[in-house]
Structures are given as C-alpha cells and as structure tokens.
C-alpha cells in the first residue's frame, strides 16, 4: 500500500512540478539575458490557456498525430511511477527494470517522429528525422552506462542499483563513477536542451514537429516535454545520486527523502539551465561528435568494469 502511495506521490510531484521547473528555467534564462522575464508560474498559465483553446490539425494528419500527445505524456507518467526517487526501492517493481525504462523512453520518441511525418509538413518532417537521429546517437550511451551499473550492482532493477550505489557497495567504484559522468552527459543530451534541441530548433525549423499541434494536444505535449526533462534528470538522480533517499519506508524517512530529492533535482535542473544559456545550438551534422564523446566515456566505464577498478 505504501509503495502505491509513493508511486502516486512521485507522479503527482513530477507532473505538477514540471511547469514550475520549466518556469524557473525560463527565469534563469531571462536573468542571464539581463531581462526581467516572466513569472515562474508562466508555464501553468500557458498550459491552462492552451487547454481552453480549440484544436486544429493539418489536413493530412490522422490518428497518429491525435494519439501522440497523450501517449507521450502517459509514458512519462508511467516511468515517473516506477523510479526509486524518494525511497531506495522501486515503488512498482514491474516498472523499475532498466530495460523497461529504456524501452518506455524509446516509445515517445518513436511516436514523436511518426507524428512528425504524419502531419506532412516539411519542417516537421525534418524535425522528426532529427529526433530519431538524436535517439540513435544517444541511446547506446544510456544503455551501456546502465548496463555497466547493472553489472556492478548485480541487478537490472533500478531500486537494487540505487540501494547498492547509496550504500557504496557497487564494485568496481571507478567504473561506477565514470559511468555516472557518462550518464549525466547522456541525460543532458536526452533532455533536449540547447545545444541539443535540434528537433525543435526554433530558428531553424520553426519549432519542428511542435508547429503542427495546437490546443489541448499542444498543452499535453508541452507538459509531456517538461515532464520528460524532469524524468530524465530524476533517473540520473535516482540511480547515481540516491544518497538520502529513504532506505526503509517509514513516513518520516519518506518525507526526508522527498525533500532531499527535490533539492537534488533542483540543483541538477539549475545546472542544466545555466549550461543551456551559455552555448549555441550544435549543427545537427556535428551532433555525432558530441555523442561519440559521451559514448566513449560509457565505453571507458565498461573497460574499467572489466578490468575491475
């Protein structure tokens, strides 16, 4: 019962906090731009307004385009329910497996690209292709680092992995640290922030696939994308920074875990926001150079694992 409560709390937390996180990111950006900026609650206002608007779809768009935003948001919610965020154990063990999470993360990307092609716009199609390219380039690094950690901890269950990292039992340690760094980089790319927001590049592709959505669909998609950023950041926090998460599920421990988790997440998101505003968008042809670096780090951690340091 308490597990289920934890899962629900996690979902509510991430979904409700996502617009706030996005609003704070916007505020940070405004400050770095030497602008006043909008309120940190602006994203809530935007979503509320979009929700009231009517929905328009391009002529050629069909079921895929209609189904994509709910699937996108829904998948993120499911992932959020399964991660060991405030306790070290997975609230829903079925969803706590590394492989499940990785597949669940691939699903929205697939739908996103499919919907981009479905709407038949030329900019959206280019954006969809870029999103796939990003996936192809960054997913190997994600998978490899998680596999390294799984081998180091002896389980593919995220809860067990978190527990093992938190109690410093994961062996070999260097491999785990390097895997952590690689995973952080891969997560940053996966979050789709600058310089890696190639699929929605405003100046290049006019927001890419997003351009064809409106009203509630756009609201769901925007919310889904903010939740995705939080989920990806949480995944990193859960697996590589599980320190402070409740090891036993007592109400007090869970409350402390919750507070610590929010603090860690805020730190990660702020760091990402600062990086985002200090760089230019990468030319999509050169995307591979960056992801190769990340993959190289991941491979290095695997080597360390094999030789056991």
């Amino acid at each position: 019962m308490i597990e289920l409560t934890v899962a629900v709390i996690q979902v509510l937390l991430l979904v409700l906090l996502a617009p706030l996180a996005s609003g704070v990111t916007r505020k940070v950006r405004a400050k770095m731009h030497t602008r006043q900026g909008t309120s940190i609650f602006q994203d809530y206002y935007d979503l509320a307004k979009l929700w009231r608007r009517c929905e328009v779809q391009p002529g050629g768009a069909g079921l895929v385009s209609r189904a994509m935003p709910p699937i996108f948001l829904g998948t993120m919610v499911i992932i959020a329910a399964g991660l060991p965020l405030i306790a070290r154990a997975c609230p829903v063990p079925l969803l706590g497996d590394v492989i499940t999470v990785l597949y669940l993360m691939a699903l929205p990307r697939f739908m996103f690209s499919l919907a981009a092609l479905d709407s038949a716009g030329s900019y959206t199609a280019v954006g969809g292709v870029r999103e796939l390219l990003l996936g192809v380039l960054v997913e190997p690094a994600l998978i490899l680092t998680l596999m390294v950690l799984a081998l180091a901890c002896g389980s593919t269950n995220l809860g067990v992995m978190a527990d093992s990292v938190a109690s410093l039992a994961a062996y070999p340690p260097v491999a785990v640290v390097v895997a952590g760094v690689a995973f952080a980089c891969a997560c940053y790319v996966e979050m789709g922030k600058l310089p890696f927001d190639v699929a929605e590049a405003e100046q290049e592709l006019q927001e890419g696939p997003l351009a064809e959505f409106s009203g509630p669909s756009l609201a769901m998609l925007k919310l889904g994308m903010s939740v995705k950023q939080l989920v990806v950041a949480s995944l990193f926090v859960a697996v590589f920074l599980p320190f402070g998460a409740a090891s036993v599920a007592t109400p007090l421990g869970l409350a402390a875990g919750l507070v610590l988790f929010v603090a860690k997440l805020a730190f990660v998101m702020l760091a990402a926001a600062v990086i985002e505003n200090a760089v230019m968008r990468v030319r999509y042809q050169y995307l591979g150079r960056y992801t190769w670096f990340v993959f190289g780090l991941a491979a290095l951690s695997f080597v360390f694992l094999v030789i056991g340091i």
Partner: protein, 580 residues
C-alpha cells in the same frame, strides 16, 4: 602620367576616352553632373557592349540601373546604367541610352553583366520596357494581381491615389529551380518566417537537409515611395521620406538623396554639415552592426548573446538621441546641410558614450568568439563564390567578406570621410558567414574611432547653405555607405519643385541576387543564418510600387503557406552543389 597632368584630367574622363577608342562613334553625348560623375549617351543597341566593357574591362561595378519616362522632355524613355568605377580613375560613369516609345525594346545587358538582372526586371514592371534577351522575365516588383498593361511609373499611368482592380485571385508566381539534382523536396520559408520580422518568400529545393538550390520572392511590402515623391512631395520634403525608407539606416538614405540633389544643383554644403552627416552615418552603423551581431547569436540559438548585444545597443540608440533628439537618426538632413548642430556638451557626452561602447562591445565580442559552436556554425557556411560576387555586384559586408575592397567611404570618399586619416576598407576572404561577421565587428570598432576623430576635427561654421537657385531637369547621383552596403540615390529635379524621377537603391537590393549562390550546398538548418548574414532589410528593398500591402494578397499567401509543399521530383542519386 605626371601629377600635373593628372590634375587636369577630371575623374572619369579616362573611361570616357576608353569607350570612345574601343567603340568609335558610340558616344553620342558626354555630360558632367558633378566632379566625379559623368554621363555618356550611347545608342540603345550598344548597351550590352559598352556596359560589359566598363564593368569587366575597367573595374566597374553596377549598383543600379534607372529607368526614366522622359517622353514629356524629349519624347523617349531613357535608361541610366550607373557604374561605380573602382579601379584606376575612381569615379561614377553613367551610361545613358534612349528607348523608342513605339517599340519599347532594348537589348538586355543581363546575359553579359548579370548584375543588371533585378534592375532590368524592375524597368520591365514599372515602365513596360522590354529587355530583349533577359533570361528571367518574371515580375520582380509588382504583385500577381496587378493588371498586365498598367505601368506605375509612367508619367501617364493611373493617378497614384487610385488603385486598379485585382487582375487575378490566384498566386501565379513560379519559383525557378536551377540545380542539377533531379529529386528534390521543396521547403517553403516565409512569406512569414519566425526568424525574420519582415515578409519574404523563399523556396528551398532540398535533398535531405542539403539545399540544392533556392529561389525567392520579395517586394511584399511596397510602399510606392518613388511615385509618392514624384507626385505628392516637393523635392525638399523627400529627404524626410527618404529617412523612412529604412527603420535602421534611414539617415544613409536621406544623406544620399540630399547629396544627389545638391550635386545636381551645384550646392556647396558647409564643411561642418558634412562632418555632422558623417558622424550620424557612423552612429547609424554602430547600432545596425550591433543589431546584426545580436541576430547572428539568435540564429545560432544563442539567445543570451542576442540579449546582451541588444542591451549594449541601447547605448548606440542613446547616442542617436543625444545627437538628433530621437532614438533614430531621423529628420536631420535638409537640402544644403543639416538642421541641427552638435554642441560642445553633446560632443563631450558623445565621446563618453563612445568610450563606454568600446569597452562593452569588446567584452561581448570576446564572449561571442569564444562561445562553443560559434566557429562551426559560421565558418564555411553560406559561402559566396568570389566569381559570383564579381558578376552580381554585391555590396557591404557581403562583398567585403569575399575579399573585395568595396566601400563607398573609401572608394569615393565623400563628406567627412575625405578628411579621415588612418582608416581603410575592412575585408576578409573566407567568403562565409564568419567573414561577414568579422568584417562587421572590425567596422564597428573603426566607426567608434571615426566618430572620435570627426568630433575632434569638425571645423566651426554654418551647418546649412541657403539662397541658391533651382534648375529643373538636372540629375546626379548621391551615395553613402549604409551599414549594409552602399545606398545609391539618383534624382532628377522637375520643373514644378518636385522630383521628376527619384530612384532609391538600398544596399540590400544589390545583395539579394547573390543569396541563391550562398544557399547552395548548405543545409536547411543554416538557411536562416545565411539570410541573416547579408543583414537583409526587406522594406528598404521594397520601396517602389504604388500598391501597398493589401489584405487580399496576404490572405492568399497565408492559406497557401498552410498547404503541404512537399513535392517529389523524379529520381537521381546525384549529389549536387550546382554552380551558376
């Protein structure tokens, strides 16, 4: 040639002699409008030969060609090919030819000198004169729904206050594809695009993400200024209209217009007024270059840099406010001088602001150049082949980024520029976006020093000449180096205190035709930054017709923009980066 002999020969004379020697009997008449401006009249069928000879044979560049309906004066139409001679004997040589009003045909120069293409298309639209052999016979300026037989700039065309009924309801402009890859996808960019605040319709022919070719259409925002100037304003009010050609480089236009009238009428502008004009032109360059540097950041997705450049740009606007009373350098020029002097305390404040700007911008530029990905986003992007540049006469940082030392301030020193010391044309030869950006950065720093030197050197004295006599039907060229390149104004006075004909050529007009060459071989992702690197000014280019933006045209375009433009052609695996 000794110095003494050189002093006797007036600028441009050697070119006239060369034309006489090469084409015996071609020169029907030689007239001099100003010290550095000479006009030769030749028979229309000699046009391609003579213009080509001057252009390629004698280091000429073609800013513009002006059509004129001179039927009330001499019963014929006239064409003026303006050539800026920038090699030996720098001067302006205008080649004038008359066109028979019954046939209304003349041989097109475009096949020989591609730089004429837009001017000849425009003369076709505006006067109904047919350039025989013109490769591209689409409309340039007039909208699709304009009637076929109405030529706005003819003296006997419809009254400018009336508007013809639309001739068609459908958009019938065809975009031309010149690449050699057979299978391409057409990507529309515009008429309204997120990165440009003015309308322009680009069609990118792409293979995957690579642009094989591009075509574009502009002139969505015609304001009919030339017609208004001819029919409504007196010639001395046109300086204020010229200000409004551009929201950024207005002063460059009004100085160019004022000087074209002053040169034609032989008015001596006081030295102090010349200095003040020069200072204002440089202030304009400051804020325009800062704008473009900010936009380069924006196009690369680096909005932090964009916002910081715009923050610093406010100081340049303050400078304008200090010197002119308005945040823009508007409303200062009169025929014969300027309206307002620079006082001692304004001078001190200007010097202080210039110093602050120098520090701020140096820091920002360091930041920009060291930002991750700046190099990879700009180096080698939007390459303009110097050969294409030579053929099409681009101006400003576009030409200077290709290694051509084209800058009216130094090629044909005018006003205060003639008295400056220690400055030269800034060029880079990377031919890419990066070179153009670096040229702008260096020019910005030069402008700051120029303002300081001009403020120090400005002699005391009056700022306006009055009491001169007005002579009708005289014409001359006025030119300035606007931030985006040379502005060239050609004005002929009428016998009613109005302009008989005023032709304003904005810098960007010369830069659009080469854009196609810059697009080729790049990706869709770089399209915006390439357009941005010519620092385009749509409304400056779109200044001519009598029709203004009407609702109908806008609706049709928006609707068609929403349609799917994806179109597949037949198959070929060939990768192409077609050359002209």
């Amino acid at each position: 040639m000794t110095r003494k002999e050189a002093a006797k020969v007036r600028p441009g004379q050697t070119h006239v002699e060369a034309v006489r020697d090469t084409f015996p009997g071609a020169v029907l008449d030689v007239a001099r409008q100003a010290e550095d401006q000479v006009t030769i009249t030749i028979p229309a069928d000699m046009l391609p030969d003579v213009v080509e000879f001057l252009y390629y044979g004698r280091d000429g560049w073609l800013p513009n060609m002006v059509g004129n309906d001179e039927r009330p004066l001499n019963g014929r139409y006239a064409l003026y090919y303006l050539l800026s001679m920038e090699g030996a004997d720098p001067s302006f040589v205008t080649v004038r030819a008359e066109v028979d009003p019954s046939t209304r045909e003349f041989p097109s120069v475009t096949p020989r000198v591609p730089a004429c293409v837009w001017s000849e298309r425009e003369v076709r639209d505006m006067f109904g004169l047919a350039p025989v052999g013109l490769p591209d016979e689409r409309r340039l300026v007039l909208p699709d729904d304009w009637p076929d037989d109405l030529y706005p700039l003819r003296k006997d065309s419809m009254d400018y206050r009336r508007r013809p009924a639309p001739a068609t309801d459908v958009e019938n402009y065809s975009f031309l594809y010149e690449g050699d890859v057979e299978e391409t996808t057409e990507v529309p960019m515009g008429p309204l695009h997120i990165t440009s605040d003015e309308p322009g319709h680009f069609r990118l022919f792409v293979e995957g993400e690579e642009i094989v070719d591009a075509d574009y259409r502009l002139f969505y925002v015609h304001r009919g200024m030339e017609k208004v100037a001819e029919s409504r304003l007196s010639y001395d009010a046109v300086t204020f209209l010229a200000d409004r050609i551009c929201g950024i480089c207005g002063c460059a236009h009004s100085v160019a217009y004022a000087e074209s009238v002053e040169r034609a009428q032989g008015i001596e502008v006081p030295l102090r007024a010349q200095y003040i004009r020069t200072i204002l032109l440089e202030v304009e360059r400051l804020h325009s270059h800062l704008l473009n540097l900010g936009l380069v950041c924006h196009y690369c997705g680096f909005d932090t840099g964009f916002q910081h450049f715009f923050r610093v740009r406010e100081k340049a606007m303050d400078l304008a406010e200090l010197l002119t009373g308005a945040r823009k350098t508007y409303g200062l020029n009169l025929i014969g001088g300027v309206r307002r002097d620079i006082l001692e305390d304004q001078k001190m404040a200007t010097v202080r602001l210039v110093r602050e700007l120098r520090g701020d911008v140096e820091a920002l530029v360091d930041m920009l150049l060291s930002t991750a990905n700046f190099e990879s986003r700009t180096a080698g992007i939007g390459r303009l082949d110097p050969k294409a540049a030579r053929d099409f006469s681009p101006v400003g940082p576009v030409a200077r980024g290709c290694g051509f030392a084209r800058d009216v301030r130094f090629n044909h020193p005018f006003d205060g520029y003639a008295h400056l010391e220690g400055f030269g044309v800034r060029t880079h030869d990377g031919c890419d976006v990066q070179s153009r950006t670096l040229v702008r950065i260096e020019e910005f720093m030069d402008s700051l020093s120029m303002i300081e030197q001009l403020l120090d050197g400005a002699p005391a004295g009056p700022v306006l000449t009055e009491g001169w006599t007005y002579a009708p039907h005289k014409f001359a060229l006025g030119y300035t180096e606007a931030p985006r390149g040379e502005d060239m104004h050609w004005a002929m006075a009428g016998d009613n205190q109005k302009c008989y004909r005023w032709r304003a050529k904005a810098a960007t007009y010369s830069n659009w035709p080469v854009l196609r060459h810059m697009f080729r071989g790049n990706t869709v992702a770089d399209a915006a930054i390439i357009v941005g690197s010519i620092d385009p000014c749509y409304s400056c280019t779109d200044r001519v017709t009598v029709v203004d933006v009407n609702k109908r045209t806008e609706t049709v375009l928006t609707k068609s923009q929403l349609e799917s433009y994806c179109r597949r052609r037949t198959h070929s695996p060939l990768k192409g980066r077609g050359d002209a």
